[in-house]
């Protein structure tokens, strides 16, 4: 606490520098890339430019999402390829605890976000995997969780109807929300309620009678304890007719699964589900306060395209509301970590030990307040700034950025100081402008410059040679100040 209070002279000229030699993208390109990737790097800008602009890039991302390019990325955690029974048995036998496998899963997700050449697929998977949330730390769910995530990702840019049918019959979801073992004598309502409230039509749009009928229609699912496979107990299934939000079924078959799937398809195509999904998509990709007119239009696109997600995204990106929303979304804790690794150009490689950087990504996000897919309730993590703009996150984020700015934490996998520097000597204000362009793909401001001057004690007009401390031992301080700018937090 005894550090001296050191002050720069009071009336310095903080006119921002200008270093146009370091090119930056147009504002619309920056906006689209920022919103639909996990961090805009010079390489991503070059890719979008080569594709013919941001809209062409976006279209290619939708069209080629499953071309195999992203398949091998971060396929570094072999336990994620094991069957549920193997994961379970190895946990029981003390070979590898299940929680470690689940951490693998989160780490793989984050590694993909850092490295994947298909960030739009990862963004939409992020949204839908939270919409159909099954926490990685759910009781007895974990053996099924990697496969569940694979299912979501494989369907994220397909039709929501198919995704819902797959997810709501997956052992992970059925187990998590207690549909496994639910019987006609005492139907368990947990999954039934969340199907209506969270996955489809939304709160306020269903009755308690709808919940009860849905719960009865869902009865019968079981897990075979020998094989770990999903089975069905005909004797436990309730065969009374159901009427749910306009869906009616005689439900006469002792095997209720076909009728259940009919309900799922009906719900996926319900106008209220369309509105709910459109709202979620707008909140994630446009703004926290979703414009009603845009939601209406996207809901109509969703229904007109048989619940396909990609046409909704196309319409969103083409909208005036999207164009007007630059800078309005806050990165969540995981995005904070991923963006840091991307803009500091981490050379992330296959992990070899428990403390390899790729194995520390989940912890990094957790330390900022939340690791992906650990949200404790079935609504999935929030997508709005109100949840993540907390004093606790602010403190944790400052602490992380200070460490990352050394370019040696958690290991020296980042670009070196030299690779961040333009030809020197250069006025400090121009150096700051160059670095701001490299990190944020936009010119610096007077506020940024002054923050950098205060942090480093360097005069804005000072000539920075290659021998100057601010590009030597003091570079971490300068980089740290830059990482803590408001621009960092905007997606």
């Amino acid at each position: 606490m005894a550090r001296a209070v050191r002050r720069l002279p009071r009336r310095l000229d903080y006119t921002p520098g200008s270093y146009p030699a370091t090119a930056v993208p147009s504002a619309p390109m920056l906006h689209l890339l920022s919103r639909f990737s996990y961090g805009v790097t010079p390489a991503l800008v070059a890719e979008a430019t080569a594709a013919g602009g941001q809209r062409a890039w976006f279209e290619a991302q939708l069209t080629n999402a499953y071309d195999g390019t992203a398949a091998a990325v971060a396929d570094w955690w072999p336990d994620l390829k094991r069957s549920p029974l193997e994961i379970y048995a190895r946990d029981l036998a003390g070979i590898r605890p299940a929680w470690q496998v689940m951490t693998d899963y989160v780490n793989r997700t984050l590694a993909r976000r850092i490295l994947s050449p298909r960030p739009v697929l990862e963004q939409v998977t992020d949204l839908l995997e939270n919409h159909l949330h099954v926490p990685v730390n759910g009781n007895l769910v974990y053996p099924y969780r990697p496969q569940y995530g694979d299912l979501i990702r494989a369907g994220a840019l397909g039709r929501f109807e198919d995704l819902l049918v797959g997810a709501l019959q997956h052992p992970a979801m059925l187990m998590y929300l207690n549909a496994i073992g639910s019987t006609k004598a005492h139907p368990n309502e947990n999954l039934a309620r969340e199907l209506l409230e969270l996955h489809t039509v939304g709160v306020g749009n269903y009755t308690e009678a709808d919940v009860k009928a849905t719960a009865r229609l869902m009865t019968g699912f079981l897990i075979d304890l020998t094989s770990g496979a999903l089975t069905y107990n005909l004797a436990a299934h309730d065969t009374a007719p159901v009427s749910i939000l306009g869906f009616t079924d005689t439900n006469a078959d002792r095997d209720g699964r076909a009728a259940y799937v009919r309900l799922l398809r009906y719900l996926a195509n319900h106008p209220l589900t369309a509105r709910r999904l459109a709202t979620k998509i707008v909140v994630r990709f446009v703004r926290d306060d979703p414009p009603a007119a845009l939601v209406d239009r996207l809901a109509a696109v969703y229904l007109a395209n048989g619940t396909a997600i990609a046409p909704v995204l196309r319409a969103l990106v083409a909208s005036d509301e999207f164009a007007a929303s630059a800078g309005l979304k806050l990165r969540d804790p995981a995005e904070d970590v991923v963006n840091s690794f991307r803009i500091l150009r981490a050379n992330l490689v296959k992990p070899t030990t428990a403390t390899s950087p790729a194995n520390l990504l989940s912890t990094g996000a957790q330390n900022l307040g939340h690791a992906p897919f650990t949200w404790p309730s079935p609504d999935g993590q929030p997508q709005v700034a109100a949840a993540w703009a907390t004093p606790a996150r602010a403190a944790a984020s400052l602490q992380l950025h200070t460490k990352l700015a050394t370019l040696k934490y958690p290991a020296a996998i980042f670009a070196t100081t030299a690779t961040f520097l333009p030809p020197l000597p250069l006025a400090f204000r121009d150096l700051v402008d160059h670095l701001h362009r490299v990190l944020y793909q936009r010119p610096s401001t007077a506020t940024v410059l002054q923050a950098c001057c205060e942090a480093t004690g360097v005069d804005p007009a000072a000539s920075i040679t290659s021998k100057h401390a601010v590009v030597g031992t003091g570079f971490a301080t300068l980089l740290g100040a830059l990482l803590d700018q408001p621009a960092f937090y905007q997606r």
């Binding site: 606490m1 550090r3 209070v5 009071r10 310095l12 000229d13 903080y14 006119t15 929300l177 073992g181 639910s182 019987t183 005492h186 368990n188 309502e189 947990n190 309620r193 409230e197 709160v203 306020g204 308690e208 919940v211 009860k212 800078g327 806050l330 804790p333 330390n367 307040g369 309730s377 609504d379 700034a385 109100a386 949840a387 703009a389 907390t390 004093p391 606790a392 996150r393 602010a394 403190a395 944790a396 400052l398 602490q399 007077a446 506020t447 410059l449 002054q450 923050a451 205060e454 942090a455 480093t456 004690g457 301080t477 740290g480 100040a481 803590d484 700018q485 408001p486 937090y489 905007q490």
Partner: protein, 417 residues
């Protein structure tokens, strides 16, 4: 040309100067940092109490909807036993039993508080109309202002009724700020003191980093800016909590225990914390709620009781300044389901402990239980009546402001101020 004062923040420099003078007992100096104002008073801790009152209200949320019928068992209601063939708790196992109610045996650590008359239970409380959605119910419960679309929590309104705008007046233990504390009044959140910036010399007042951050964030209008300013403003005061002994090891090892141990240190530091929120999760027991030998209720109830008992023991004489209340978004059904669990119901129990509590007693109006698949514990006491009684007894806040449009009924659980 931009000059210092145009481009950046004279406020942060001002705070820095005052921060440096903090040790010299500069009484009542305050500095505005954006929307957050930190008042730095170098007087003894007791004098740092807010104008809302000298005490602290701790709201402990049992997330996921706890089963109040297991925590405070209505052994005098035959329908309870009929509806729960597997999971009912025998009367002979209950603690602090009167002719109708008794406590879950895992709540044994709370008996000293109960017997000392500083712990009470209010049964059949909740929302006036059943809401079985966890998320919607939590929002409604914590917003507690059904007439307004604004997302402002009742605790935020409470700390907004005085002139103190320190972000430390409201404190959320955890990374997130719950709805009850959200709103225009600044509030702090932190998972633990170790996770805060307090104690890191880089963030002491007047350091280059602190001044730089002030530049970067003082004029930004994004949601993150408010959070940054609150953290930076609270850090110097929070550092004093670090000087209080850490007694986490006496709290039983649960996350809840660690959180309450942190709360105790902050309260002992006397830095004007009026409202605290703490969460305990994992109460959504659709399956395996269990019996007295196995299941999920045992550990949860045990952690709850151990942590609360340790909290009041740790507070020592300051316990007479702290009131803790538990709340859960709704209760659970009367009848167990096919998985030895309970689906979403309605009414629940609230525990009230500490300062001002007329304890050792069960409060509320019992509605009588029914043994049917859909039966709830009917709410007979609006949860706001319990909270309003605490607010009235322990603060200067107007309950009409904290709970707009609501007319509380008398519960009698608190001594009037």
């Amino acid at each position: 040309m931009m000059t210092t004062d145009e481009a950046c923040c004279p406020e942060m420099r001002a705070m820095s100067r005052r921060g440096v003078l903090q040790g010299a007992a500069l009484l009542g100096a305050s500095a505005t940092i954006g929307s957050a104002v930190v008042t730095i008073a170098g007087a003894a801790p007791a004098a740092a109490a807010s104008t809302l009152g000298t005490g602290t209200i701790v709201v402990l949320s049992l997330r996921g909807a706890a089963d109040g019928l297991s925590l405070v068992v209505p052994h005098g209601d035959a329908a309870y036993y009929a509806a729960r063939p597997t999971i009912a708790i025998p009367k002979t196992s209950l603690l602090a039993a009167d002719s109708f109610f008794g406590l879950h045996p895992k709540l044994a650590p709370l008996l000293p508080l109960w017997n000392a008359g500083t712990l009470a239970a209010v049964h059949a409380t909740g929302l006036p109309v059943a809401n079985r959605s966890h998320f919607a119910a939590m929002e409604q419960l914590e917003d507690a202002d059904p007439g307004s679309a604004a997302r402002v929590g009742w605790l935020n309104r409470m700390i907004g009724t005085d002139t103190d705008t320190s972000p430390l007046q409201g404190l959320a233990l955890g990374s997130l700020v719950p709805t009850s504390l959200q709103g225009p009044e600044g509030a702090l959140s932190m998972p633990s003191l170790a996770d805060s910036l307090a104690g890191d010399p880089a963030y002491a007042p007047g350091t280059p980093r602190t001044v730089s951050l002030g530049c970067a964030w003082s004029k930004d209008s994004s949601p993150m800016a408010t959070a940054m300013r609150s953290t930076l403003a609270a850090t110097p005061k929070l550092a004093t909590a670090l000087t209080q002994p850490d007694r986490t090891s006496t709290y039983g090892g649960s996350d809840l225990g660690a959180a309450l141990a942190t709360v105790a240190r902050v309260i002992k530091a006397g830095i004007g914390v009026s409202a605290v929120t703490v969460d305990q999760g994992d109460w959504d027991m659709h399956t395996d709620l269990g019996t007295l030998t196995k299941g999920r209720m045992l550990a949860n109830a045990g952690d709850l009781a151990t942590a609360i008992a340790a909290f009041f023991a740790d507070l020592g004489t300051l316990a007479s300044n702290v009131t803790l209340v538990t709340i859960s978004e709704f209760g659970r059904r009367v009848a167990e389901n096919s998985n030895a669990g309970l689906d979403h119901g309605w009414g629940n129990v609230m525990f009230v402990a500490g300062a001002g509590v007329k304890g050792g007693k069960y409060y509320g109006t019992w509605p009588g239980l029914t043994n049917s698949l859909d039966a709830d514990l009917t709410v007979t006491t609006d949860y706001r009546s319990v909270l309003a009684e605490i607010v009235a007894a322990r603060t200067t806040a107007s309950t009409a402001t904290v709970f707009p449009g609501f007319s509380p009924t008398t519960v009698g659980v608190m001594r009037t101020a």
